[in-house]
Symmetry: none
Subunit: 200 residues, 4 copies
DNA sequence: CATGAATGAGCATTCATTCAT
DNA sequence: CATGAATGAATGCTCATTCAT
């Protein structure tokens, strides 16, 4: 009854961006599971069909929203330490805090996509892996080792994998409640373990 | 039109078990995502409705299939090392191999349930957490420490969390291809890192 | 696993009668709507299939149960007045009380069968209309008229229809709550109206 | 595979109204018993899912169709007499004819809802009890009594209950064939009975 | 470009009935 | 006779996608 409504732009924002933002918020609060295009359109206050004027399908919108979500999240997470500055211990703790916060939002958001490779593939297409935290952690460790603040024979990839895994794992407890440890270790103890090992 | 057949037993196996096994196999190959009761019934070669003669609903069947899947998988994974025997290094590698293999099957199977707490709740109900690998790893580390083969001040919970996380994380690469490390570390390097740390 | 269980007879009662009685009770408490053969069998503590050894189908069982229900109900309702004895007013009140009580149980029981002629047809087949209250009311009125206790020109069929209708209607309020009168009239006022009319 | 067609308007009629009308007709001919959403959609010549673009669920459609059905029916029933005009006898006959015609359509339509309170509740929500015939009959009788055309002591609620009951009862014969009187009384005789009573 | 009604395959679940044991 | 597992058509409902306006 009223095509071409003046709502084309809302606050100077394209419908494209409005939809991405709306989907982003919905993903943030409820994950991708059970998220319908109708619900997104309704939440954005637009018609069901608009989506298909700006995205090829639901998957593309979701992929864009996910990407934006990760970016927004990372941007809010603050700075990562610089190699050579501060204490090793403090820096690793900072990295760990960063990673934990990051995974806390990412895991629920991406969890619903296991077994639905389509959105993931789209996500991979449009995202560039450059800035991902893991790579920054590895780079950081590598620099510290170059500076002599880590053992020259230390295997930074393994250390990073172990720290990233810990973040992932810590957060899984929220998703699969009964699988987590009864008594989750503190980030401090994890840093100590990674720094000094458990061998006598 | 033909509700008989009374194939109550197929090869001496109850329909209950046939359905669980069928679902188990389907979960093993395609995960729980998009798994429909019709598909299970079809794959089992039985009528749609049988399911409800043996399970209260889809969720219960899925929970049972998942439980059976975990059990079957664990059973095939072989023995875990005994504290005090063999080398620490070898034992940890064995644990890591066990954990990796376990997560390799568990992660895709459970992944589809993120955001769908119903099946997980059912699973938690019927499963006992007793035998889960994490607990056995912690117990193992505790014993080794008691035997003096680990540093008395070593924090076994942190070490375990870090190792479990690594397994989880390693496997996520298969689920979210683009998030993993380009160059995944070897289990050996992980064990070395956890044993000796990266500090100089 | 255990065919031919000794439960064939329970307290000397045939399974036929056990099923009828069970269905009767269930109809009494919840009506025929949503009444399943499984539920009946379960409540009777017998196998699903027994029903078909004693009745051609669900409809026949329901018809028998309904018949038994009406009979049981009527039997519990006490005596109806004899023409010529007592007062006219009291006798009509008694009839009305009888009718109200009868419809109170019959209406919910039969209500669910509207639009399902099958059971009703079965019911009609096996029931004999002889004893139904309406006929006894008509007979009573006819006798009173013959005795001169009613006006010779009074139309007993109309009077009976009006009284039966009132019973029916009174009870419908329980079934369709919002259609009934806000302020239902007393049986006494109904008797007075039918006896003396409303004309000046 | 062919989700278009965009027959938004069929003969200038919205799908909402088309569905209500279709359901209304189906209720008129076969009652609500066994009425499925698929059957309605098929009869309306539309897809299964349309219903849910216009109604929250089956119950709402049914409630609306029922309401429309009652309205249509009442509208076709003509005028009710005005107190003080014409003869009492004629006016009551007119009321009775109105009531009989009304119940003739209403009883089969609503009968299938006994024991299924959901649709009734929805119906009650959207309908206003104001215009229901019973209330108009009571009002009419009250006015006639005020005008002195009925006995000052006459109990109009009882008279109305008895007349409404008769209508209900007359029509039940169509629904439960074997319960009605073999020889149903004429409306005239009912009016005579209510006006003059059966006492000598 | 935006609209939103229409599509229809697909989903989980129910239940009267059968029949080998 | 009794058993109860198996049947499968049917039900109400969802939702990504299309396209005439």
């Amino acid at each position: 009854m009223s095509p071409r409504k003046a709502a084309a732009q809302r606050d100077g924002q394209s419908l494209h961006d409005l939809l991405v933002e709306t989907a982003e918020k919905m993903i943030a609060t409820h994950g991708t599971t059970g998220l319908t295009v109708r619900a997104i359109a309704r939440a954005a206050g637009v018609a069901d069909g608009v989506l298909y004027n700006h995205f090829s399908d639901k998957e593309e919108l979701l992929a864009r929203a996910l990407l934006e979500y990760v970016r927004t999240t990372e941007a809010e997470l603050g700075e990562l330490p610089v190699a050579g500055e501060g204490t090793l211990d403090g820096n690793l703790r900072r990295h760990l805090e960063f990673g934990l916060a990051l995974h806390r939002v990412i895991v629920p958001a991406f969890g619903g996509l296991v077994g639905r490779p389509a959105v993931l593939a789209r996500f991979a297409e449009i995202s560039e892996r450059s800035g991902y935290w893991r790579d920054r952690l590895v780079a950081y460790l590598r620099e510290e080792r170059a500076l002599g603040r880590l053992a020259p024979e230390s295997e930074v990839d393994a250390a990073a994998a172990v720290l990233v895994g810990f973040c992932h794992e810590s957060v899984m407890g929220a998703v699969f409640p009964h699988t987590g440890p009864l008594d989750p270790p503190s980030p401090e103890s994890v840093v100590r373990t990674v720094l000094h090992g458990i061998a006598p």
